[in-house]
Amino acid sequence: KRSERERFARVMGPAPTGQQLRGATGGPEVIEPSFEGTGKKGKKPSSRKRGVTESQVENLLQPVKLSKAELYKEPTNEELNRLRETEILFHSSLLRLQVEELLKEVRLSEKKKDRIDAFLLEVNHRIKRVPSTPESELTDQAWLPAGIRVPFHQVPYTVKGSFHFLPPAQVTVVGSYLLGTCIRPDITVDMALTMPREILQDKDLLNQRYFRKRALYLAHLAHHLAQDPLFGSVRFSYTNGCHMKPSLLLRPHGKDERLVTVRLHPCPPSDFFRPCRLLPTKNNVRSAWYRGQSPPEDDPPTPHYNTCVLQDTALGSHVQLLSNVLGSAPGLKDGVALLKVWLRQRELDKGLGGFSGFLISMLVAFLVSTRKIHTTMSGYQVLRSVLQFLATTDLTVNGISLCLSSDPSLPALADFHQAFPVVFLDPSGRLNLCADVTASTYHQVQHEARLSMTLLDSKTDDGFQLLLMTPKPMIRAFDHVLHLRPLSRLQAACHQLKLWPELQDNGGDYISASLGPLTTLLEKGLGSRLQLLAHSRPPVPEWDINQDPPKHKDSGTLTLGLLLQPEGLTTVLELGPEADQPEAVEFRQFWGSRSELRRFQDGAIREAVVWEAASLCQKRLIPHKVVTHLLALHADIPDNCVHYVGGFLDALLQGLKETSSTGEEALAVAICYYDDLSRMLWGLEGLPLTVSAVQGAHPVLRYTEVFPPTPVQPACSFYEQLRERASLLPRLDKPCPAYVEPISMVCHLEGSGQWPQEAEAIRRVRAAFQLRLAELLRQQHGLLCRATATHTDVLKDGFVFRIRVAYQREPQILKEVRSPQGMISLRDTPESLRLERDTRHLPLLTSALHGLQQQHPAFSGVARLAKRWVRAQLLGEGFSDESLDLVAAALFLHPEPFTPPSSPQVGFLRFLSLVSTFDWKNNPLIVNLNNELTAEEQVEIRSSFLAARTRLPVMVIITPQDRKSSVWTQDGPSAQILQQLVILAAKALPVLEKQLMDPWGPGDIRTVFRPPLDMYDVLIHLYARHIPRHRQAVDSPAASFCRGLLNKPGPSSLMPVLGYDPPQLYLAQLRAAFGDLALFFYDQHGGEVIGVLWKPTSFQPQPFKASSTKGHMVVSQSGELVLLPNIEAILEDFAVMGEGLVQAVEARSERWTV
């Protein structure tokens, strides 16, 4: 029993659970940090628990208090220097400290370095002692011991030449370990083994002979090293993912196994091959050998093949160069480390053709040589300069070179541009360092650099966090993602695209060969819809030495990420050239059968492609059609090999009957009727005061209502009819009628001095206005209206609007307090705050978000998915509609380090990520609507937030209209509910991401939308008959009850039943009666179950007090009379109060103690 209690306490936060944080003095129990209480269920010793509470106190930022003496003491020289340095070299002192901390985290410690050094020494000895072998033909591999496979695809097998093993002439450590720029985790040390000249022959450059020898060399080495007990594992891999260049991975034995990986790269003596043979225009793989037939013309050049050889010869000289540049400049080393982190967070550095750490180091060296970077610069400045350079230059057009000599025998840059998409030459002037980098990868780097530069320039406080600490996995960074599988299809694609020279050049690696042409094809086809196309880089495989190297088709899937352009998505037309122009032929060829001749309104006859899409959600998925069409047409990849991930989550927003739209259109229709009605109000004649403004105040009017309203046509026979008040009433013997929520709007009247100045009287006058409004709308526009004291309901074309008249000065009058001296001062009262919220803040917010939707068409989808998810987790009651809308808006207004989402899918993933990682305790979420807050104002908001933290709600959302109080989160969530949401989001995000990244289909996409029910103490099951929104449930029932609606519009002169939702009424009663004892959770969108959680405090025996007897009973416990909740009676009350609605009350009796 005790452990149960404790579990509960842990889920719900520290023991004294006040529902509300506000008013808690000192406020240590604001929010538990997100990593605590996540799933650890064992018993904790009490001392540990105290530790948790203590750390909570620490985890809250306190305003800094420094004594006067400390603040104003004479500064020391050192202090002044540091302050000045910070000012010059860094952005702010905070950034400096953060960078220092980060570097400490990724740097290798001295102790580990020593251990690695010792290991390297050992490796060196062992390698030197590997015995040599007698000479044999390259094709005769019988000398290799059984159990060792050559790490090379030997296709074609026959090749001339002979091989024998000799220990390496030289073993040197190269790469980042030597330079001190390697970063944790995954420390790898690269070792270059120079093969002795005797092994190599003159013509080894030709037809992969060198590479085969290299592979055999490694195979023999692997065989001997594998027998050595020093090594925990000996495996093969590829150098930089290049399939022609295997390398050997050595890991220490025992506990150090994860400490370091040593990579062995055999290489030729640096002057063995004649450089002039390796120019990008030369051929070194003969077609006659590779394809078994001579091509009609000359052999095609093999630039990639040549580069691979050149890379091996230049290992030493590159290390030399880098150590010269970086050696004595700690700032540059810091910079390289930061850049590596930057690349890693963006998944740019890994795989074949990645923008590796070596490349970025060379880039730093280049910038030093062009004096863009100085050796005294700090790491941050290096980062900034490199990003600036990447953002502003284009290496696909103007390549750069580290070569200083002007030797005329060197090839021209233009030759390289011909052969490679991206050009960056090394000091020799012959080797392109970016040979493997595809244009897409480079564009992605450029794009990221540009984003990062705007972020650094924008002076937000969190630049560091967003730049270096936020991972950008592909699924969260790109609007749509598509997987191509199986990869063997690409082989056929290569033939279809006639890429034989490329295959020859890449040694048969059809993935690398086809990647470039495929991305170009799709980029051209997607045109204005596309902002950026990125592809995943094939991962570098690792395999055991007794296995064959993995086949090309085994390297997973090829994943493409599409970053869409919202403006381009709105069009369904691809406009081609005029029919009689020569380009028309090309256009027709490109689009194939989709291209049609069309005549346009201006009389032009053009080629055009038209995609059928009626709704926004279909338009968003046009890229899918484009991609499948083009791939099938040009690359022979059928559509079942393309798995397009973009619209899976749309299903959760679609209504039951229409699957073609995600509701944006239906919302637009409702807004259209709202506009009509507001025009009517403007022109209304006969009101004592004219209407000065009409403002929307409902989620429908800001496109964020999860399920858009549909026009209602009630079937009268289904209802009780109250003719004299022109209203329909629900009937007892029928299922609950359809839920109709009035769309509320606020109507402001022109100013007047005639209003009474007393709260009660103002209410009466307002009521008179409501009555008059109803009367006039009926007389002048023939609308069905019903007035009450606070609002007027209007039925217009099947939509029900609720108009509230507002008087500007009313909140102020409610606030007035007269002091004994007769001074009138203004004090906030709950009533005035509510009124201000409903009549001032809500309309402002609604119009601001309505505007946001016009800018970002995906906003509606994201906000609705987010709300849908929160409510499906049964937490909807804790979060106001507006607060969730604002969190969704933040994703669009502050997307850094991403770009604003253009699809609901990516927006929802980022919502989950934001919710689960945001430090709600120490930061306000600033939502800068309409960009009204300046940077200075934001800084001020942050500092005043810290000072007022304990008085503010748990979740603080600041908008330009509401800079202090966070109106929308005042009434919740409580710390525990927010914590629960954080935990659920953190769990849902990886699950959903994994589903979407699964190339074989997402499985059940609704998994993350189903709430966990095992944490609740009592479950109240409801009858679907009386749940009006039953069909909105996550798992929509196949059949439900008739809700009294007609399909065709019929004449109706009676007001439909408004806002009648039995589960909500039931919950309100439960909360009023048992709110002190328990929390109630329910999904308003068709939930069939109410979760009840007893509060941990309610089971502590209390002494008898007249004020705390509610629902309790007196029990004698060890001679004392104490109060305990009367659980059995309460459980029966649950059933009594929900008579007709409640199906069963399922008590999980082991969950509480009586």
């Binding site: 603040l71 002192s93 009450t788 039995p1062 039931y1066 009666a1073």
Partner: protein, 280 residues
Amino acid sequence: MVARRRKRVAGDLEAGVPSPPGYYAIPIKFSAKQRASHYLYVREHRVREGTQSAWPQKRTLFVLNVPPYCNEECLTRLLSPCGTVQSVELQEKPDLAESAKEPKSKFFHPTPIPGFQVAYVVFQKPSGVSAALTLKGPLLVSTESHPVKSGIHKWISDYADSVTDPEALRVEVDTFMEAYDQKIAAEEEKAKEEEGVPDEEGWVKVTRRGRRPVLPRTEAASLRVLEKEKRKRARKELLNFYAWQHRETKMEHLAQLRKKFEEDKQRIELMRAQRKFRPY
């Protein structure tokens, strides 16, 4: 578990329901169908000497823990066997200093959803109280002859009630505003009479309606005046004129930097504690 519980309930019945000192416990159930019951804790309403109370001494029964489905009417019915009930008042919590409540308008002050309440039951005779203190339960809120609506029945009838009669509303508004206008007119009349007329000590009351209206006495207005004064003074001040002023601004700048630095250090400390510097 269930068995144990049942046994305990049975034991309780034999030994009599435990009740806190001074109170008497009466079991109450919604209907005969329910097995477990709530308990009303009742005692005679008493106040300390000298305290005013709206309820008559001796004749008033004070009831705690009235379930939400039990309204005034129902309580009257349940307690009438003890003697004629004069009035029943349900409240959210015990309220001793009861002031005379004027009946609130049902249009403008909808009654909140009830939870567990306390009740003051006034009997016509003191004997009713003593009879109630020996009442054996369990009381049944809803019976065949007097059913109490709950669940769907209740919500439907509540919805029907919530559809307002515009005519009744109009009448209410008109009568209220008439009374209000009269009240305001009377006040104004009075103010007009007092205008410029010194009272017995010779003071003249100055009002906003006079010939020369004065500033309203509100906090905002007085703050505005203060702000104006401050600005006027600030305009006259010389800044960075004397050497010490220079020195002080520099020092102030340094202090700001130091403060910022301290804040940043604290932030870093916190992030380090949360392991926020692990990039992946």
